[in-house]
Structures are given as C-alpha cells and as structure tokens.
C-alpha cells in the first residue's frame, strides 16, 4: 500500500452494531461490531478473515444497508450512507451482494434472475436486459443454462448465476459473503476461479472492486490487496496478505491461522 493511494470508495469509521432486545447500549444486547475502521479503494480487493461469529457477515450487511448501525460512519464516495435520511435503495443499487446460500429466486429462470433488477430497478427494456444478462451469463460460463430454473443447477452453477446477477448492474462494489461456504469441496474451485478472473480480467475491462468475507485463505492470498483480521467485532490486524497470513504480528491472528491447519 503506497501513499498515493486514491480516496477510498468505501470507508467505515468506528462502526458499531449490536443485536438483541432493548435500545442500543443496553446490557441485554450482543455487541457484534465494536468500532470497526476499514477502507476499500476503487479497483481494489479487501478480504476480511476471522472465525465464525467474528462479525464478518454483519460487516458486509452493514455496508449494504441491510442492518442499521448503532454508531459510526459508512462513507461511500465520502457520503455517510448510514444516515437514515439517505435513500437506501439508491445506495444498494450502486452495490451488489452475493450470499452464502446463493438466494436465487426459485420461481424465476436463471436469465430472469439476472434481468430482474435491470428491468425493475434500472428501467432497462426486456430485450436489452436479456442481451446484457446473456453476456454476463456468458462471462460466468452459464450461457447454456439461461433457461433452467435454479434447482436444476449444481451449487457451483447457482453461485455463479448469483454472481452474474450481482454483476449485471455494474456495481461499484461487490460484497461477497462466504460465497463458497455452502458448496461441496469439488465445486469451490469453479467459483473461486471466476472471482479470480473478475480481479485479473475484470468485467468490461474494469477490475471489480470487492469486499470479501471468506474462510478460503489460499484465495485471500491470491486476490487480496489487503487482508483484515476481525475478532470479536474488532479489527486486530490488517496488511498485505503476505504479512497478515504469512507473518502475523498479533497472537490472536497466529492462533486463528494455527487452528485452520
């Protein structure tokens, strides 16, 4: 990371989030994010690692405005989108999220899953949306399954379809929430290969900006510009993948990595 790094696309500042009953701050609530700072520069890839329950998913959901924060800032291009007076739908339309469980719409064919948001949210005509959708399915290697229903696809195919659905709107930031955790081991590769190619070749000549929560350390090593280690809702260590995963400074990070082996 150099000093001439551009103004980050996404910045989290002191993000705090708790779940449970009672108002924020009451002792009955569980604190999930405890003052998280994080930057994602346009065109870069930041990978968040940490054990289950460390707050990775919540972090991504906070960015996508699927969760209300207790405190702190979520700055997208310098605008604090965590403020409730900001149009959340407009913000979400600029982002895209891929979920662990794919969350394809089971009643729609693959192509219709991909074209739904362009048609309904962005007002693209059906013909144009389907052309763009087919191009995107081509990109993820699923053009021949465009007319199939999600339950006719393998898990890896479903997840690639979900990635095509997320990318078709040309999101400024792609949020990936443990996208390989629900897949059979032999299907993980095809999804990771696709994500890797989104970094190296990009979409329409532009490398996709990503914020990734994952358990795949090999993948993190390969694609990450920065690795962030989250533990109990706090960032304990951050740096290049070589440093954080290869030569961690914090005992907690070392312990986490030891347990993965």
């Amino acid at each position: 990371m150099t000093a001439d790094r551009p103004e980050p696309l996404l910045s989290l500042r002191g993000v705090r989030k708790s779940f449970g009953s009672g108002p924020p701050g009451s002792p009955s609530r569980t604190l999930v994010l405890d003052g998280v700072d994080l930057d994602v520069a346009a065109g870069s890839c930041v990978v968040v690692v940490g054990s289950s329950g460390s707050g990775k998913s919540t972090l991504l959901r906070v960015v996508d405005l699927l969760e209300e924060v207790d405190d702190g800032q979520v700055l997208l291009d310098g605008e604090d989108v965590a403020d409730p007076w900001v149009d959340a739908d407009a913000v979400r339309a600029r982002l895209a999220m891929v979920f662990q469980q794919y969350n394809l719409f089971p009643h729609l064919r693959v192509l219709d899953n991909v074209t739904l948001a362009p048609r309904v949210v962005h007002g693209v005509r059906r013909r144009d949306a389907e052309d763009a959708g087919m191009a995107m399915l081509e990109r993820v290697g699923l053009a021949d399954r465009a007319r199939a229903y999600p339950d006719q696809l393998s898990g890896g195919q479903q997840q690639r379809a979900a990635i095509a659905r997320a990318l078709v709107n040309g999101p400024e930031l792609l949020l990936l929430d443990e996208v390989t955790s629900a897949l059979d081991p032999e299907l993980v590769g095809e999804v990771l290969d696709l994500l890797l190619s989104l970094r190296t070749e990009g979409v329409a000549g532009r490398a996709t900006t990503m914020l990734v929560a994952t358990h795949e350390m090999a993948f993190a090593r390969e694609v990450a510009d920065e690795v962030v280690f989250l533990h109990a809702g706090r960032v304990h260590e951050r740096g290049t993948p070589e440093q954080v995963l290869g030569d961690p400074r914090q005992e907690r990070t070392r312990e986490f990595l030891r347990r993965l082996r």
Binding site: G25, S28, L66, E67, E68, P84, A88, Q101, A232
Partner: protein, 292 residues
C-alpha cells in the same frame, strides 16, 4: 460478548435517533389523518343517503336492540356450544384423517380410500346443502336411537364439513415438513409412528396454526347456519323478533354479538401464535433486518 454498558452514543448516533423518532411520529400522524379522512367519508356517504332516516330506524333502533338483546344473546349461547363441540370433534377427527391419508401403511389402504372420498365429497358440497340433506334426510330414516333435534343435526352437518376442511389443512401441514426430518428421526431409532407423532405432527401443527385458527373462527360464524333447520340460535332468535314489525335491528344485534366473539378470538389466536414463536422465525434470516 454482552454487556456493553460503557458505550456513549456519538453526536451522530443521537442525530440519527432523533431523525428516526421524528419519522415514526410522522408515520403515526399520517396513519391518524388517513383514518379520520376515510371514516369521515364513510359517515358522510351513509348519513346523506336519501334513505338514511328510514334505514336508521329499521336497522339501528337502540330501543329495539335493547329489547331483543336477551333473546338473541340466549340464542348465541347455542351457537357457542355448537362451535366448541364442532371445533373439538373437527380438530381430532380432522387430524386423524390427515394422518391416515398421509400414512404409507399397506393395511390402512381401505381407510385411506375412505378418507379420500370423505374429504372429496364434504369439501366439495356446499355446507348449506349438507345441512338441508342431513337436517331433513336423517330424521326421515326414523332411527330410534338418533336424536333429531335441529341443534344436533345442524351441529352434525357442520362437524362433517369442517372435519373435511381441517383434514385438508392438516394434510398440507404434514406434507410441508421436510422428508429429511423423518430421515433424522428414523436414524435416531424412532419407529414410523414415533417419528410422525414426535417430529412430524408438532411441526405440521405449527406450520398450519394460522389457517386452522382462521377455520375455527369461520366455524364459529357458520354455526349460525343451523338456524335454517329451526334451531333457535342467535340468528333464528333475531329472525323471530323481526317478524312482528319488520324492524331489522335484531339482525344487527346478532351481527354485533358474533363480532364480539370472533374479533377477540382472532386477536387471541394471533397473540398466542406470536408468543409461541409459531410464525415464521425471522431471527437470523438474511435480509430480515432490512429497515429502509
């Protein structure tokens, strides 16, 4: 990690809370104004109708209402008794029928066919028709052991029809339980019957608690149909009261009494199922937290 009592909200967090509170206040205000406008419109249309004066006298006479209240209320007591008995019998027999229909035991095949025919017939025939056929057909057989009171025959007809409806709802509930649940139960060594009783049925009942409850509310109101056989329930009592003077207020009284039972009943069922967590569990479901 719990117990974060040391946190003090930032200026920013307080501004956001203030904004959200203001928005909630605004939503309440909008709801209030919208309600007032609709109510005013309804009152205006009704009270300015050309026939309003006469209609008010014929349908909403307070004196007449007070006069007939004891008779109609006494009739409602019959409705409530029919409702309770029909509910209990319908729930038990309906559940049995559903279990029989979904069972795969070979020896139960004849019973399965019988249940199928029964449900097909009584779900497809209008309740009114069943009432007429049972009410006038069964007494014609002159069976010495069969009670022939209108209340009994009317109640029987309702039981027969609602058992069929409830059986179908329970069957849908049983089929909504994922087969892997049975696999898990059987792998633990539970027998087929134990798996059904301990694992499938509890989940099935939860899944259909809402439609079953709405069926029971609907049964309470349909218990008024026994009046066509001459049983003196709330509706029949009201009808008797209108014959002298063509004042229809007793019908309105009967309607209000039915509502006084069914509305609290519906709310009670809602509250109960919410407390049991019998609605779809949203906690921890991705997307459930979408707020704006």
């Amino acid at each position: 990690m719990t117990g974060d009592g040391t946190w003090v909200p930032s200026e920013r967090a307080r501004a956001r809370s203030t904004f959200r509170r203001a928005q909630r206040r605004r939503a309440t205000l909008v709801a209030g104004v919208a309600t007032a406008v609709v109510l005013a419109a309804v009152v205006y249309v009704v009270t300015t109708a050309p026939g309003w004066e006469r209609a008010r006298e014929a349908f909403f006479s307070p004196e007449r209402a007070w006069e007939v209240l004891p008779d109609v209320a006494a009739g409602l007591w019959l409705n409530l008794r029919v409702w309770v008995v029909a509910s209990v019998v319908g729930l038990v027999v309906g559940m049995l029928l559903a279990v029989v229909r979904t069972s795969r035991i070979a020896a139960l095949f004849p019973l399965r066919m019988l249940a199928l025919v029964y449900v097909d017939v009584f779900r497809g025939v209008p309740l009114l028709l069943v009432l007429l056929l049972v009410g006038f057909g069964l007494p014609a057989l002159r069976l010495p052991w069969l009670p022939v009171s209108a209340a009994f025959l009317g109640g029987l007809s309702i039981v027969v029809c609602y058992t069929a409806y409830l059986a179908e709802i329970f069957r849908a509930g049983i089929e909504s339980v994922h087969p892997s649940q049975v696999a898990a139960a059987r792998s633990l060594g539970l027998s087929r019957g134990q798996a059904v009783r301990r694992v499938v049925l509890p989940q099935a009942v939860r899944n259909v608690a809402a439609p079953v409850a709405s069926m029971l509310v609907s049964l309470q109101k349909d218990s008024g149909l026994i009046s066509i056989l001459g049983a003196v329930d709330a509706i029949r009592a009201a009808q008797i009261a209108t014959t002298g003077d063509y004042n229809f207020t007793p019908y309105v009284v009967a309607g209000v009494l039915f509502l006084l039972v069914s509305i609290p009943l519906t709310r009670l069922v809602d509250a109960w199922s919410a407390r049991q967590g019998w609605r779809r569990e949203l906690h921890g479901v991705a997307g459930a937290g979408v707020v704006r």
